[in-house]
């Protein structure tokens, strides 16, 4: 099975957690939907192209920063006292907000389209992007250090893989229940945080046919364990790319 491997470096990023407002909190690694969104944007796809994403990486530290926040209601007229800015006749509120930032992020991302004939096409779009790639907020530039097509195969590990203090990954939750790996921790405590990551949405019309009002219904979510302190056992069969990096995915048999 072929996939595209991206090695990315980012400076100061925020992968926002959807319910955070006063402080815009961040996931520790980009969630699946964010990566899928970036790929689709760069490729210019208007329809969802089914794909699997494996995310691993690391950041140096976290910090909080101020930013200017603009808020408005579509078409709301300017009201003195309520709005700080007047844009023609419309009103916009301006204030401050806080955002949580990850510093010095290094990522290894594997993108495996279900339709394997698309690999070449996606590779071309990522290798020669039409505009600057960004991952996270619009201003979070993604510096693609490497883009390549790799062969990914399930292999039996000849040695156990120790991920201690190397980097973190979103590990599929069934790897844990299948006991493919051991998580370092005291007693029965696991170290790591479980996330239910958003992956794919469908538009849902809240309004009428004539006056549509869309919201996103998340139809695919994936439960993962975020951890950087684990060992994958010898003789376990896991997907590995041709450079020896583990791909954190449940691949269907070819």
């Amino acid at each position: 099975m072929k996939g595209i491997k991206l090695i990315i470096h980012q400076d100061m990023v925020n992968y926002r957690r959807p319910t955070s407002f006063q402080l815009r909190e961040t996931y520790p690694l980009p969630p699946l939907s964010t990566v899928i969104g970036m790929v689709h944007n760069l490729c210019g796809y208007q329809q969802y192209e089914p794909m699997d994403i494996s995310v691993q990486g690391d950041y140096f530290s976290k910090t909080n920063d101020l930013y200017t926040r603009y808020e408005f209601k579509n078409g709301m007229k300017f009201e003195k006292g309520r709005h700080q800015l007047k844009v023609n006749e419309f009103g916009v509120s301006r204030g401050i907000g806080y955002t949580e930032l990850l510093v010095d992020v290094n990522l290894i991302i594997h993108i495996i389209p279900k339709d394997q004939s698309k690999v070449k096409e996606i590779y071309q779009f990522l290798k020669y992007p039409v505009e600057f790639p960004s991952l996270g907020r619009r201003e979070d530039l993604a510096n693609f250090e490497e883009v390549k097509i790799v062969e990914i195969q399930k292999q039996e590990l000849s040695n156990e893989r120790d991920f201690k203090d190397q980097w973190h990954a979103y590990i599929p939750i069934n790897w844990l229940t299948d006991e493919k790996l051991s998580i370092e921790g005291e007693g029965t405590d696991l170290s790591g945080t479980r996330f239910i990551l958003p992956k794919v949405y469908e538009l849902y019309n809240l309004g009428t046919e004539k006056k549509p009002k869309y919201k996103r219904n998340w139809i695919e979510r994936e439960e993962v364990l975020y951890s950087g302190d684990f060992i994958i056992f010898e003789e376990e069969i896991v997907p590995i790319d041709e450079e020896g990096d583990i791909v954190f995915l449940n691949l269907e048999e070819e």
Partner: protein, 559 residues
């Protein structure tokens, strides 16, 4: 509950800090024995929610009992009993004055809005408001107690009879159920959420137990009884299906956004954040997850397991209670946080704790700090030194600053302490109000070294070395026959430290040593190795110059 099985279980999963605080609160309210604590979630049997409002309000009433005005009101009863037992033989003017002060408090609290809102709920023939109003105690005239003791005692006795009635009223079971809870609604619960149900301005009268039950508990039960297979929407937190998106986040303080007027926050301008009634009930437990002291709240989001989340916050609560035994101060929340973190670090010595999010509630806002590993290590290394800063402080521009919270705040914001050290020395040198000994300043320099060591490659100076530099500074100033001249040299050195000008610093220093015709200590050569050494050595020296003598130096100049 007909369709629901008695043993149905509801799961609450950890998510971001807001949900975590709420889950922590839910565990606190129900008690750890009543829930099943898993790694990343808790499971609560549905039966626990049948009379949830009772445990809910009772938790707040008990937890904040000490700080409650109701406790203050009842506190006098013990004194009253003592006086009656002694038959007023030890009744002094002081006791009389205290009684009078107490009466003003009693009337003020007893006729405040939260008390008044409770009285109609009590089925009693006693007109408590009228009773409170009728209580009066004349001012004691000069020497009245000495001359007319019996009369005065008689007056007090009469008053005690009235007070007895008040206490009987306040100790009724229904008053005990409503009043302490009502007080906490306006001092604690409304810090978490507002404007809905019993916190709505129009709803402030009436039975808030019932209102809570109807608004939160019943709607959850109804939700569980309904069929949800056809529902198109989902709760943003737990992803349970919901029919209508009518429950927004806006009732939680500082969460969500104005879904009507600031739609630009949402994707395609259509708000898609709403919750199910189960999560709404959970969110009402946010104030139970936080630990509040007056207007400050604290929650530590140590979320790698649910148990650790509960333990850390329990530790903070216990530490706050202990620290507040004698005296309630807001800076104690900081101290409690530090103590708890240190406890945790001792316990988890083998496992490193990672970036921990600390959420503080102050001035009706949430403040977020992240405690990365190096800050936690700094705090741990400074274990013995931090408590020594407890009573230290200084006044700058007629504003008092307390050292302990300022130091912890600086560390949590990842900044070094040089600015703070400079400020204190400056105020001290110019004769301002400083309640900080030079010993305490030295402790700050040591803590600062611990902090710097974690950030950059540096070999910290040993405390003995630092102490020697300080002593040299002290004796250096003593050499000056004219004290003022020494002071001015100290101030000039301080300025050179502030602007990071090593050359100016060494100029002044060498010049002075030459003037005094003394040998320059060798460690000043280290000044040139890097900025951190320069400042550390420099501030130690100036601390000695500006500060008072230590005991060993045989002088008690300033203290």
């Amino acid at each position: 509950m007909s369709e629901l099985a008695e043993n149905d279980i509801i799961e609450f999963r950890l998510n971001s800090w807001l949900e975590n605080a709420a889950i922590c609160g839910l565990v606190n309210i129900l008690g750890e024995d009543h829930v099943t604590i898993k790694n990343q979630s808790i499971e609560v049997p549905l039966s626990e929610f049948v009379n949830f409002e009772e445990v809910y309000f009772n938790y707040f009433a008990k937890q904040y009992e000490k700080l409650s005005s109701f406790t203050k009101i009842l506190a006098y009863e013990a004194e009253m009993a003592r006086q009656q037992q002694d038959n007023f033989s030890h009744f002094t003017r002081k006791d009389y004055d205290r009684l009078q002060k107490y009466l003003t408090d009693l009337k003020r609290y007893g006729t405040s809005n939260s008390y008044k809102a409770v009285y109609p709920l009590i089925e009693s023939s006693v007109d408590i408001e009228g009773l409170l109003k009728s209580i009066k105690l004349d001012k004691l005239k000069k020497n009245e107690l000495e001359q007319n003791r019996e009369q005065v005692v008689e007056r007090v006795k009469k008053l005690y009879e009235q007070l007895d009635k008040v206490y009987v009223y306040f100790k009724r079971a229904d008053v005990q159920r409503y009043l302490p809870a009502k007080i906490q609604i306006y001092s604690v619960i409304n810090k978490g959420y507002s404007d809905v149900s019993f916190l709505n301005r129009q709803e402030s009268k009436g039975d808030f137990f019932e209102k809570y039950h109807q608004y939160f508990v019943s709607s959850m039960m109804n939700y569980l009884n309904e069929e949800h297979k056809k529902d198109k929407l989902t709760c943003s937190n737990c992803h349970r299906p919901i029919k209508k998106g009518d429950l927004s986040y806006s009732f939680i303080n500082q969460a969500g956004y104005d879904a009507n007027r600031k739609q630009s926050n949402a994707w395609d301008f259509n708000n898609d954040l709403y919750m199910c009634p189960i999560c709404r009930l959970m969110y009402t437990c946010i104030p139970a997850g936080f630990t509040y002291v007056y207007n400050q709240g604290l929650f530590v989001n140590d979320n790698h397991t649910l148990q650790s989340l509960i333990d850390v916050n329990k530790g903070i609560r216990l530490n706050v209670l202990e620290l507040n035994k004698t005296d309630v101060r807001s800076k104690n929340t900081y101290a409690a946080l530090i103590r708890t973190l240190q406890d945790q670090m001792n316990r988890q010595s083998r496992k490193e704790i990672q970036d921990i999010q600390v959420i503080r509630y102050e001035n009706e806002r949430y403040y977020f700090n992240l405690l990365p590993k190096h800050i936690l290590r700094t705090i741990n290394m400074s274990k013995e030194k931090l408590p020594q800063l407890f009573n230290a402080g200084f006044t700058l521009n007629s504003e008092s600053h307390y050292l302990y919270p300022e130091v912890v705040d600086s560390l949590m914001n990842n900044t070094n302490l040089f600015r703070l050290i400079h400020q204190i020395l400056r105020v001290k040198a110019t004769g301002g109000q400083v309640y900080t000994s030079s010993n305490q300043i030295m402790k700050m320099i040591e803590i600062n070294q611990n902090f710097l060591k974690e950030l950059i490659q540096m070999t910290p100076l040993e405390p003995q070395e630092l102490e020697r530099i300080r002593r040299d500074g002290y004796f250096f100033k003593k050499e000056y026959a004219n004290k003022r001249k020494g002071d001015s040299v100290g101030l000039r050195l301080l300025n050179a430290l502030k602007v990071n000008d090593r050359n100016a610093f060494m100029d002044i220093l060498l010049n002075s040593y030459m003037y005094l015709n003394k040998q320059v200590p060798h460690y000043f050569t280290e000044v040139f190795s890097d900025d951190e050494h320069y400042k550390t050595i420099g501030y130690c020296f100036v601390t000695g110059m500006i500060g008072e003598a230590h005991n060993a130096e045989g002088g008690n100049e300033n203290e």
